[in-house]
C-alpha cells in the first residue's frame, strides 16, 4: 500500500517492469503538441473484389436509386418551387416515369386520407371538381353556398373568387398543390391558351338551375 501511487520510488509495491519500461530506463519523451488528427495509417485497404456479378449489381443499385428518386415516392423539399417556367421543365416532366400514385384506401387507415379542399391552382388550368375522394368539411359547404349565391349575381367573377379562395387556402401551404398532383384523377395538365371563362364543362349548369328554381339553399 505504501508504494501505491508513489511512482518510481525505490520501493514500489508492484512489479515495475509491468509498466513497460524497467528501472533506470528513460521515460518516453515529452510530448509537445497534440497527436496528429490523422496519424499515418499502417495498413492500407485491400483492393476490391472484381467480378461481373459485382459490376452488374452496381449498375442495378444505381439504377434502382435513380428510379426511386424519380418515382412519386420521392418527396422534394416543398420550397423547391419553380419561380419561372423553364424550358427544361418539359423534359423533366417527361422524365416522370411513374407519374402519379394512388394509394389503395382499402388498405390504409381512413385518417390518412388527405383533406382535399375545393380550390384551384394559380396557373391557368381549368379547375375540375374532384370526384368521390372529396371530403368536404362544414366550412367548405358554407363557402360553396356563398359561391353559389354569388354566381347568381355575377358569373364572370367566379373565377376570381375561386382564385381568392384558392389564395386563402394557400395558407395551408403549397402542400395542397402537390397533393392535387397526386390525388387528382382527372387533372388536365395541358397548358391551354383558352381563357377559362370560355371553358364550360357544364358543371355550373346544374347549380344555376337549382338556384333559380328553389331560392336560397340552406
Amino acid at each position: 500500500m505504501a508504494g501505491r501511487g508513489r511512482g518510481r520510488g525505490k520501493n514500489v509495491s508492484f512489479n515495475v517492469e509491468a509498466l513497460g519500461f524497467g528501472r533506470g530506463e528513460a521515460l518516453p519523451g515529452p510530448i509537445s503538441q497534440p497527436p496528429p488528427l490523422f496519424p499515418t495509417a499502417d495498413f492500407k485497404p485491400v483492393p476490391f473484389q472484381q467480378s461481373e456479378e459485382y459490376d452488374y449489381m452496381l449498375a442495378l443499385k444505381q439504377e434502382f436509386l435513380g428510379n426511386m428518386r424519380k418515382s412519386p415516392f420521392f418527396l422534394q423539399a416543398s420550397h423547391k418551387r419553380k419561380d419561372i417556367e423553364r424550358y427544361s421543365d418539359k423534359y423533366q416532366a417527361a422524365a416522370e416515369v411513374n407519374g402519379k400514385w394512388k394509394p389503395d384506401w382499402r388498405r390504409l387507415p381512413a385518417e390518412l386520407k388527405p383533406r382535399v379542399r375545393k380550390k384551384t391552382k394559380s396557373s391557368i388550368k381549368p379547375s375540375v371538381k374532384v370526384k368521390s375522394k372529396v371530403k368536404l368539411s362544414v366550412e367548405d359547404v358554407s363557402k360553396t353556398l356563398e359561391e353559389l349565391e354569388k354566381k347568381e349575381v355575377d358569373q364572370g367573377d367566379e373565377e376570381e373568387e375561386e382564385e381568392e379562395e384558392g389564395g386563402k387556402k394557400k395558407e395551408e401551404g403549397e402542400v395542397e398543390e402537390e397533393e392535387d398532383e397526386i390525388y387528382d384523377e382527372e387533372d388536365i395538365e395541358e397548358e391551354t391558351d383558352y381563357i377559362l371563362s370560355y371553358f364550360d364543362n357544364g358543371e355550373e349548369y346544374g347549380n344555376d338551375d337549382d338556384d333559380a328554381d328553389e331560392g336560397p339553399v340552406y
Binding site: P45, V46, Q49
Partner: protein, 312 residues
C-alpha cells in the same frame, strides 16, 4: 650441524604439530605466538606458520585476535563436526543441483529444498562454483534469473531457448524464413497432387505431407546452422496452422520412437472467404475511427484517408 638439523626437521615438525596441539589442548582459551615460542624454541617463525596453516586448513584450530596479539585455539570436536556438517550441506546442495539435471534449478528453489539460510546457500554455491562442480546459466525465460546446474551438463532448450534463441535473443527472422519455406513446400506438394490425381479423395490424400518429409526437406535445404529436430519443425508447422494456411490431420500409423502411434500429416489449404468487404475501404483499418462523426474534425467528408484512397 646443518645436515643434522635438516634431517631432524620433518620429524620435528610433526612433533611440533602434535606438541602444538597439546599446548592448545592445555589452554582452551588459546595460545599466543609467545607461548609457542617459549615452549617450542626450536620452532622458528616459518615452521610455526606452516604448522598453523596446516592446522587451520584441516579445521583443527581457530585463529583469533586478542588485542594486537594472535591467538590459536583448538576447535572443539563439536564445531569440528560442524565443519563436517558443512561438508554435508555442500553435498546436499550438490545433490539437489544434480537432481535438477540439465534444466537447472533456481537459487530460491535450492533454498526451499535444503532449508538453509540464503547466505549459507550462497556461500556453498560460490564454493562449488570455484571448485568447478557447478555452473550458473542465464535463463531465457527471465533474463535476471540464474539457474545452477552441474558443470559439465548441456543446458536444456527450455533454458537456453533452443534453436530459436541465440544469446537470449529470439530469432524472429529465422522463424519467419522457416515458416515460409515450409509453406512453400506444402503448397508444392498440394499443387502436384491436384495435377496428378483426378479423384478428389485421392487428391486430398496425396496433398497431405507427413512431418517426416517436411523435416527432411528443411534439413536438406541447409538454411539452418543448427540441426533442427522434428519437434522444432512441428512447432513451425503449428505456426502455419495458426496462420490459417495449413491444416493438420492425424492418421494412425506405426508407433515410432517418439511414440504415440500417430502420423502427423499437413497440407496447405485455401481460405474460406476472400478478404471481407470492410477491409477494402479505409474505415476498416482507420486509427481514428472512434472519433469520426459527421460534423466533427474527423468525419467522412474531411477524411484524409478516404481522399487518398479515392484518388489512387
Amino acid at each position: 650441524m646443518a645436515t643434522a638439523a635438516v634431517k631432524e626437521e620433518p620429524i620435528e615438525e610433526v612433533d611440533f604439530e602434535t606438541r602444538f596441539i597439546m599446548l592448545c589442548q592445555a589452554s582452551p582459551e588459546g595460545i599466543t605466538d609467545n607461548v609457542i615460542q617459549k615452549e617450542l624454541p626450536q620452532c622458528d617463525t616459518k615452521q610455526r606458520m606452516t604448522i598453523v596453516n596446516r592446522l587451520l586448513s584441516m579445521g583443527k584450530i581457530d585463529l583469533l585476535k586478542s588485542g594486537s596479539k594472535l591467538l590459536y585455539r583448538l576447535k572443539d570436536p563439536d564445531s569440528a563436526s560442524q565443519v563436517k556438517g558443512g561438508d554435508n550441506q555442500e553435498k546436499l546442495v550438490y545433490q539437489i543441483i544434480k537432481d535438477a539435471g540439465n534444466k537447472g534449478i533456481w537459487i530460491r528453489d535450492i533454498r526451499f529444498k535444503c532449508n538453509l539460510l540464503l547466505t549459507q546457500v550462497n556461500k556453498i554455491l560460490k564454493n562449488l562454483e570455484t571448485k568447478k562442480l557447478i555452473k550458473a546459466v542465464k535463463s531465457v525465460a527471465a533474463s535476471k534469473k540464474k539457474v545452477y546446474m552441474l558443470y559439465n551438463l548441456e543446458p536444456d532448450r527450455s533454458v537456453t531457448g533452443g534453436a530459436w534463441y541465440s544469446d537470449q535473443d529470439f530469432e524472429s527472422e529465422f522463424v519467419e524464413v522457416l515458416n515460409q519455406q515450409c509453406f512453400k513446400y506444402l503448397e508444392q506438394r498440394a499443387a502436384a497432387a491436384r495435377e496428378a490425381k483426378s479423384d478428389p479423395i485421392a487428391q486430398r490424400n496425396a496433398s497431405f505431407t507427413p512431418l517426416e518429409d517436411v523435416w527432411k526437406y528443411i534439413s536438406d535445404l541447409g538454411i539452418s546452422k543448427v540441426q533442427l529436430s522434428k519437434e522444432d519443425i512441428e512447432t513451425i508447422l503449428n505456426t502455419l496452422i495458426y496462420d490459417g494456411k495449413v491444416e493438420r490431420s492425424l492418421v494412425a500409423g506405426q508407433a515410432t520412437a517418439s511414440g504415440d502411434g500417430y502420423v502427423k500429416l499437413y497440407r496447405s489449404v485455401q481460405p474460406l472467404i476472400p478478404t471481407t468487404g470492410l477491409m477494402r475501404m479505409p474505415c476498416g483499418a482507420c486509427p481514428v475511427f472512434d472519433q469520426c462523426y459527421e460534423g466533427g474534425a474527423v468525419s467522412p467528408t474531411t477524411c484524409v484517408y478516404m481522399k487518398e484512397w479515392l484518388e489512387i
